[in-house]
């Protein structure tokens, strides 16, 4: 006789409400798991999507993602001459906020060598890659643009020629790919008044030691260099020794060199580590809270049946019957709530503002923890049930 099911049938409404409550809590646990994974996924998405053999950045810098790195664009010619290097491409990435369709959008711009260079989008699911040197873009679908849309950025408008889903920046914001010169122009574009004022300031300083004409000419020549990049991406020749090439670049060209795996580790131990630890802590706390709540629910359910349990004991029910009653309710509650959570997170995760990455391992792990938690949670109820004196059924004690 399945006492647990009969009891739950009588308390159907309360049981369903409890399942929804605990289920929503489990949904948050699963969402937190997904957010944890999503944080890592987003943080590494551009690195994975780019995946060159080597990342060359400013010396002693952990760039270009974990730390700022700046270097003149022409350095990539030096790299092309290194033995074992097949291709070396300049690369720039930065974050902007612009109005698109009258809505303020936060996104990252990647500028790369569109003519056979590295660093561009790998998987385009609609449209094509950039084929012109200027005014074309490939955007992540999250930006909310369609193929053929014209997006104003700086002085020009850029036509959306392709859509990708692979790369987001480490905030989870979409990445937009454009040509390197376009990206530099957008980044260093200044207001005309500001350019004039800057030149005048410089000329005034120079006029202290030069003639006005010479100072004006020199001021123009000393205008800030906009051919700055963040990194150079290197593709090695087949069979080239990656370590030897990296060491050569470090020793002779005074750059820092990282493999893609190094870049991933820099991010995991750097920029991503704080948030990852935070999410891990939240995840653990939520798990503990879930177990405590189930424990209290099961304890309450058990306490409400304490007289019935005393009667059962008095009429000779073995402890196994009592244990089964409490444990079965605990497991039914836990498993049904988990199932509810599993369905609800799988239905809702695309609508979360941050990237949620659901992986079966996390779901299985959470299921095992929840199952053990459910068993642990019933300990309190079981302890109360087993210590109930059958005498309670007699004499109204």
């Amino acid at each position: 006789m399945d006492l647990a099911v009969y009891d739950l049938k009588l308390q159907k409404g309360r049981f369903i409400a409890t399942i929804i409550g605990v289920g929503l809590l489990f949904t948050i646990v699963l969402a937190m798991n997904g957010l944890y994974r999503g944080n890592i996924h987003d943080g590494l998405a551009v690195i994975h999507a780019t995946n060159p053999d080597l990342w060359v950045v400013e010396r002693y810098r952990g760039g270009p993602f974990n730390e700022q790195s700046s270097m003149p664009e022409y350095y990539h010619y030096s790299l092309k001459a290194v033995p074992g290097v097949e291709r070396a491409s300049p690369y720039i990435i930065y974050t902007v906020e612009r109005q698109i369709d009258n809505e303020s959008r936060h996104f990252s711009i990647v500028g790369y060598d569109v003519i056979g260079g590295l660093g561009g989008p790998q998987k385009i699911y609609a449209g094509r890659g950039i084929q012109q040197a200027h005014y074309e873009m490939v955007a992540h679908a999250k930006l909310g643009v369609r193929l053929g849309d014209k997006v104003p950025l700086g002085l020009h408008t850029y036509k959306v020629v392709g859509l990708t889903k692979e790369a987001v920046d480490n905030n989870g914001d979409p990445v937009v790919y454009i040509s390197l010169p376009d990206a530099q122009e957008i980044l260093y574009q200044k207001d005309n008044e500001e350019v004039r004022a800057q030149r005048e300031r410089l000329a005034r300083t120079l006029q202290k030691s030069l003639s006005p004409v010479a100072a004006a000419n020199l001021a123009e020549a000393l205008a800030p260099d906009t051919h700055i990049i963040n990194a150079i991406l290197v593709r090695l020749k087949p069979g080239a020794d990656r370590t030897a090439v990296a060491n050569h670049i470090r020793r002779w060209l005074y750059f820092s060199v990282y493999t893609t795996q190094d870049e991933i580790q820099l991010m995991l131990k750097g920029k991503l580590s704080g948030m990852t630890k935070q999410l891990l802590l939240f995840r653990t706390l939520l798990m503990i809270i879930s177990v405590v709540i189930i424990a209290l629910v099961i304890y309450t359910f058990t306490m409400e049946k304490i007289r019935s349990i005393a009667v059962m004991k008095l009429i000779g029910a073995p402890n196994l019957v009592i244990v089964r009653l409490v444990l079965e309710q605990s497991l039914l509650l836990t498993l049904t709530a988990f199932l509810f959570a599993l369905v609800s997170i799988n239905l809702t995760y695309p609508y979360f503002p941050k990237t949620i990455v659901l992986v079966p391992e996390d779901e299985v792990f959470t299921f095992i923890v929840v199952l053990l938690g459910g068993l642990l949670a019933s300990v309190l109820g079981l302890w109360q049930a087993l210590k109930t004196e059958p005498a309670m059924a007699l004499g109204g004690k």
């Binding site: 308390q11 000779g316 109204g396």
Partner: protein
């Protein structure tokens, strides 16, 4: 043949100045089919005696022999599964019926049968038979909360009888019923004792309810005051 034999039974709670002698030197014997009442004022030791007879409360000294098996001889004799003994050979009826609220009347009666492994059609036939005999069969599928006090008590009696016990222990079975219904319940217990040769021990404080009982034990301050 005595189903239950108690000799020199005492129960002392606490020690020193806090010592309470709840039962002192109680002896009684109940035969199969015999109807016995335990009477006495509040605090006289009726419920303590019932707890000892139910094998829930360990006496301090004395002897309990149940169904010719010594259970207690100045200590539990060991080798006896007391809970099994209760579920196979004893039936209980309570003052407040104590039906399991989430089981229907039928399931409440089925429960002790399930505990001893009687299942399927055999169990169902037994339950129907019992509920029929208690004139409650038409309410078999109702939950206890939907039954009147009298109906609940009849279900409780059916449950106590389910495993054909040798001894039924009833704790004030009529206390929550009006006189007429109370007498009816007592009539049922008499019938059960006669027809099934089941010994019945009833704790009651209502003298009107014990008409026709075979033996009435009066307790006072934990001692057997008189017997008739």
């Amino acid at each position: 043949m005595a189903v239950l034999k108690i000799e020199g039974l005492s129960k002392i709670f606490g020690s020193g100045r806090l010592e309470v002698r709840a039962l002192q030197d109680i002896s009684l014997s109940v035969e199969a089919g015999e109807l016995v009442a335990l009477m006495g004022p509040s605090g006289s030791g009726k419920t303590t005696l019932l707890l000892c007879v139910s094998l829930i409360l360990e006496p301090t000294m004395g002897t309990i022999v149940f169904d010719n098996v010594p259970i207690y001889q100045n200590g539990w004799t060991g080798g006896v599964d007391i809970r099994r003994l209760r579920r196979e050979k004893m039936g209980f009826i309570f003052q407040s019926h104590n039906l399991i609220p989430f089981l229907s009347a039928r399931q409440n009666v089925l429960f002790p049968l399930d505990l001893v492994g009687v299942k399927g059609p055999e169990a169902q036939t037994r339950v129907t038979e019992l509920l029929d005999s208690m004139e409650i069969a038409e309410r078999a599928d109702y939950l206890p909360a939907l039954l009147s006090g009298g109906e609940q008590q009849r279900v409780a009696i059916s449950r106590a009888l389910a495993n054909r016990p040798k001894l039924i222990l009833a704790d004030e079975p009529t206390a929550s019923l009006d006189t007429e219904r109370g007498k009816k319940v007592m009539g049922m217990l008499k019938k059960i004792a006669q027809e099934n040769q089941t010994a019945v021990i009833t704790v009651t404080h209502d003298a009107r309810m014990v008409e026709g009982f075979d033996c009435i034990y009066h307790l006072k301050d934990g001692r057997m005051d008189y017997t008739h």
